[in-house]
């Protein structure tokens, strides 16, 4: 509890580090911060060209279908890859200055989260532009974003702390996220999974999260809360476990780095 209070006292550090992260990511480029928007826009353009002209998929408006799931997925995967090295990358700070170490993974996930928010501006514009449009179900968007944030944060707590002690994890996670990407219905629809594997597919928390995003943005139907509830419970448990593990492991960070 004491450390959570302290984390609150350091909120300015989180804020300013996230800001620094976002501002310096595209520093030196001509478009600068605009890249945050241009990046997803160009991605969408590429998918549209490929899937409309070259690789025909029997899903209507497939580029958009893909994009809606891909943006939240990219938040998850980039958070894991960049978040897992967040402590190592700040070795200089960790060895020299005291601050709650938890800030590092939080900043990493938060700045990726901010990027997702900016991407969703493009998503919404694209939804209108491609004629898919939006429904009132979009009100659930903040809810699912928060759930995903908690889930990813829990994972990153664990991975960032473990990577300090086991550097291989960084490379292992690259393969892991790639496999995970194909096991999650992002490129394909959940209906394409044979029935006997469906239960397994839903054991993957990202499945219900991506399906939820797609329901409210692309399909414009009432999302399934029944599958989501296990994900929420799992995410909250994960973030608590991650927090405890991180706090235990962080005591020797300065020595191990």
């Amino acid at each position: 509890m004491e450390s959570l209070k302290e984390l609150w006292n350091y909120r300015q550090m989180i804020r300013s580090l996230v800001k620094k992260e976002l501002r310096t990511r595209y520093k030196g480029s001509v478009l600068g911060f605009l890249w945050t928007f241009v990046n997803p826009l160009l991605q969408l353009l590429v998918y549209s060209v490929i899937f409309a002209l070259i690789m025909r998929i029997p899903i209507e408006n497939y580029a958009m279908y893909l994009f809606v799931g891909l943006v939240p997925w990219l938040f998850c995967s980039t958070s894991i890859t960049s978040g897992s090295v967040s402590v190592i990358a700040s070795a200089g700070l960790v060895q020299k200055i005291y601050f709650p170490r938890l800030i590092l993974p939080i900043v990493s996930v938060s700045s990726n989260f901010m990027n997702m928010l900016f991407s969703f501006i493009i998503v919404v514009i694209a939804l209108f532009a491609t004629g898919v449009g939006v429904s009132w179900y979009i009100c659930f968007l903040p809810l699912i974003m928060v759930i995903e944030f908690i889930f990813v944060l829990g994972l990153v707590f664990i991975f960032s702390a473990l990577t300090v002690y086991l550097r291989d994890l960084e490379h292992l996670l690259g393969i892991f996220t790639m496999a995970w990407f194909y096991l999650t219905p992002i490129l394909y629809s959940i209906d394409m999974i044979p029935d006997r594997f469906k239960a397994i597919a839903y054991a993957n928390p990202m499945t219900s999260i991506i399906v939820f995003y797609r329901n409210i943005l692309f399909d414009k139907v009432m999302p399934q809360f029944s599958t989501l509830i296990t994900t929420v419970i799992f995410s909250v448990a994960l973030v608590i476990i991650g927090y405890l593990l991180f706090q235990k492991l962080q005591r020797r960070f300065a020595e191990e780095l």
Binding site: R11, K20, T24, Y98, R167
Partner: protein
Amino acid sequence: MVVIDIKNIYKSFKIYKDKAFSLKERVLFRNRSKHSRHMVLNGLDIQIHSGEVVGLIGENGCGKSTLLKLMTRIMYPDSGTITVKGRVSSLLELGAGFHPDLTGRENIYTNAAIFGLAKKEIDLRLQDIIDFSELYEYIDSPVRTYSSGMYMRLAFSVAINVNADILLIDEILAVGDTNFQEKCFNKLEELKKEGITIVLVTHDSGVVQRFCMRAIWIRDGKIAFDGDAEGAVNTYHKYMNKKKIENYNNGRDYTIEDIEEVYKFFLGRETENQQVLLHQYNHYRHIRDLIDVILSSHEFAERAELNEFDKKSETEIIREFRAYMKREKNEVLSLGLNDGQSTGEASLQHEKDIYIKKAYIKGFETKKKIEVRPFQKMDIAIDYQIRKNEDDLILGFGCSIYYPDGTLCYSSSTHRDGLLLHHLDADGTVVFSIENLPLMNGSYSLSVHMEDEKGSRLDQIDDCVQFSVVSDDRSVGLVNIPHNWSQRN
């Protein structure tokens, strides 16, 4: 009020021989223990009161920086507790967390946030920080355009202006130009007057004496001294000087007892004269050098004829000596000979029957500064005294010249030159004459000794005269070789 309360803390580090970071190595070499534990802090108890300015001193690796890191909570102790009350600002490294692409102003916000300040608090202090750093017109330029001096100024300004209750400083005052250092010190003095608790780690005893009211000397993870700064620095210096001398002796690969063994083995006798031992000990860094000198001596040649030595090669002799040392070593140690006893005996030397009164260079008896020219005549006189009245007393004299670094330049004795001096006066002078002094420009030191008929030293004065050879000769080297240039057609 106690603001930093350290109770019985222990801290150890793993020392990795070869750190296994990767999974492969961890799995493959699971059973190989690649680290050893190194105790850094060994049960420390320190209480620092509000408003105290405490210096932590000690050698490198004594644990003082670790202690500071424990106070800031960068590290945690293995056992024991540390309670720190109040906001801590640590100046362990200035400018940690600066981003080169952000402007000075932006970096102030980021850096101050790292110290745990809220935005409002930073807003309040922004002007103070900029004022102190004197970076007015540069504050909105990216930090990467700053000079290192400007960078340090900004970093220090942030760290010092966060209104901490406790300031922890590690060696940072060694950086920056003198003006900036002065400014930092003035600021620290100011903070000291305001009653802020300051703990600093430094190697600069001057800083401790001038700035701290209390100093803690940490040695091998324990408190060796805790008290007034002056006393701490003095005790620490005394210890360091002693250690320096010990280290110098440790550079040798043998002990003074080993020399006795060398004598016993090669010359078949013990050297009763401790002065000789000390002399050898001082002049040969490696026992091999000493053995070489003995092997090439007249005395050894004589002895070699008496026993089987002359049939053996030098390496065989050395090998035998090593084996001999191995056998004798334990015995030697159990005899309990030590330096204390040897020096004790050495101080008695003037009560001896035969001794050197003084040695000097003729013509320079009263001069303090002796300057001679190369290829001139130089007479070294040795005044001696014999109290013993034996009719057939045979004595010898020796003379050694050393380069300033202690290297032997030249040494000889009546014994080595095959001379025997009979019927000496009880109180007399022996002169060692050099016709053409073949020395290069530079300063030299002279040692003289007296020896018995076998060449064992009876008395000796090291470093009795220092003299310089001065000339406009521009040649270089160790000896001045008389020469001429000629041309042949």
